[in-house]
Symmetry: C2
């Protein structure tokens, strides 16, 4: 039995990435039903919506469900309360210090996983009492580390730096990637992009269709002066990149971004002026399938 | 028997990267003796020196020796003549169109390998008659692709795009990385950084010692407006990065670079003002060992 499946009480060591706007109750429940760990992405949810989505997911499956909580979120304490009230036993924290809530969450009987992008941060996680680390490489979609360490380099470095289990993320979408991640020393994988392109994700159909026509140069990491983020190259991306090319600084970029661009793109389907957070593997996925069918292909890695 | 070892007539599917200033006859011969493919990096050699280095390598071993030829080099035709005259049977071409010399080289009985950074270019290689493709990811040292595709994403995409064998490069330094590359579909691996940090490389001791103290954020890809290159973060790197941050364009960067910076750093050991091309894995290598000892650890992957 695998260390991560044992700790989390799941069948397969496959974690679905908790993402903004695309991973609600429906996707999380489908992944948990299939034997992986389904994750509700709380980063784009007001506390009331999070409460509703957790309840909905729990109605759909009795298997473990986790919540991904970006710690920079203004109502993070309220979100934590909602998770505890709803008896969520696995929390994935990111975008903040693992010192802040880990002791408290552990006292409440929660298993705490933290997302890292460097072996240095992974060590800090271990010291803070984190149970499992997700090591996410440069090729991953959405927010990303400043050091640009790729999955191939990050996994062995992280495994060598700490004694707690490591979940590999970034660039994994099929059984080959899962096998590679395990060869590098990971005990499980997290996949985001592969599940954005599932029937159960709440990504808009315009967005899913756009991704089906992606090529290997369709994404790029931008906004390195603000918060590095990997985006699909659409008009919104080009505006940001042009500003960076002429030397625009963080404040100007933040103002240009405005608000609601991610919702506009990923949930509402404005594929030109919306912000589309996606991983480099998007071009390798040529079909939007059900989570059940996706799992059938992934678990070949464990046969 | 593996496709690549069969074509190249070598024992282990391990190729040493042909690098500027650090891979001469001594390193190439040691790798070929150990059962891999030793490669002389012609990119930093005047034709006379190349002639001398090939002759020296052939005196040191009767196993196959290859030469890496960056096609943008001004005296490339002269270099090709020297390789043919010295009966080099394996050439690795890069930094130029695979259409230019492949037919001619094949007529001369040479096995031609081309370095690519995208599945699109890999397809062009196959169409041009290339025998084997090296797919090199974003984490690799030195010159790099514009699309920033990481090894984890690039290998399966390249394997799926072509029918000729794929050698994985970028981010590989130990048996775990080799196993991962094979899981992703590669038929062999190329390693550069691992061999820069060998006793037989001609990298200056100052440089090797600097690398022994690297951490996971010690390298970065810069000069994306000119020729993207992954460098060790020293004073030279910082100058380039500061220029880019304020929006400097290609011409200004090229002028600032001047000439001989790579030689100054890597061969002559000026670790502050020299250009140090190295891969993201440098921080994982904690010992300068002989090629023979390095191979002992690598070949565990095939046991």
């Amino acid at each position: 039995m695998n260390k991560v499946t044992q700790i989390l009480g799941i069948k397969y060591p496959i974690i679905q990435g908790g993402m903004v706007w695309v991973s609600g109750a429906k996707l999380a429940a489908a992944v948990s039903k299939a034997g992986g760990l389904g994750v509700i992405g709380a980063g784009s949810m007001a506390p009331d919506l999070l409460d509703q989505q957790i309840k909905k997911a729990k109605e759909l499956t009795s298997n473990p469900i986790a919540v991904n909580l970006p710690l920079l979120y203004s109502k993070i304490e309220e979100q934590i309360k909602i998770c505890l009230k709803n008896d969520i036993k696995i929390l994935i924290t990111s975008a903040g210090s693992p010192k802040k809530f880990t002791s408290y969450l552990k006292e409440q009987g929660v298993i705490v996983i933290h997302v890292t992008s460097s072996p240095l941060l992974a060590k800090k996680c271990e010291d803070a009492g984190i149970d499992i680390v997700i090591a996410e490489g440069f090729e991953a979609g959405g927010h990303n580390g400043r050091d640009e360490i790729t999955t191939m380099c990050l996994i062995p470095q992280t495994v060598d730096a700490i004694n707690i289990p490591v979940i590999a993320a970034g660039g994994i979408y099929d059984a080959r990637g899962i096998k590679a991640a395990f060869a590098l020393g990971a005990s499980a994988v997290q996949m985001g992009t592969r599940f954005v392109m599932s029937k159960e994700s709440s990504a808009h159909d315009n967005y899913k269709n756009l991704l089906l026509n992606a090529n290997s140069s369709s994404t790029k990491l931008v906004m390195k002066k603000h918060v590095p983020v990997r985006l699909f190259k659409n008009r919104f991306f080009e505006e940001i990149e042009n500003m960076e090319t002429r030397g625009a600084q963080a404040q100007e970029l933040i103002e240009h971004l405005g608000k609601g661009r991610a919702k506009k793109g990923m949930l509402l389907g404005d594929i030109e002026d919306g912000e589309l957070e996606i991983g480099q593997v998007c071009s390798s996925i040529k079909k939007v399938e059900s989570v059940e069918d996706i799992f059938k292909k992934l678990i070949i890695a464990f046969e």
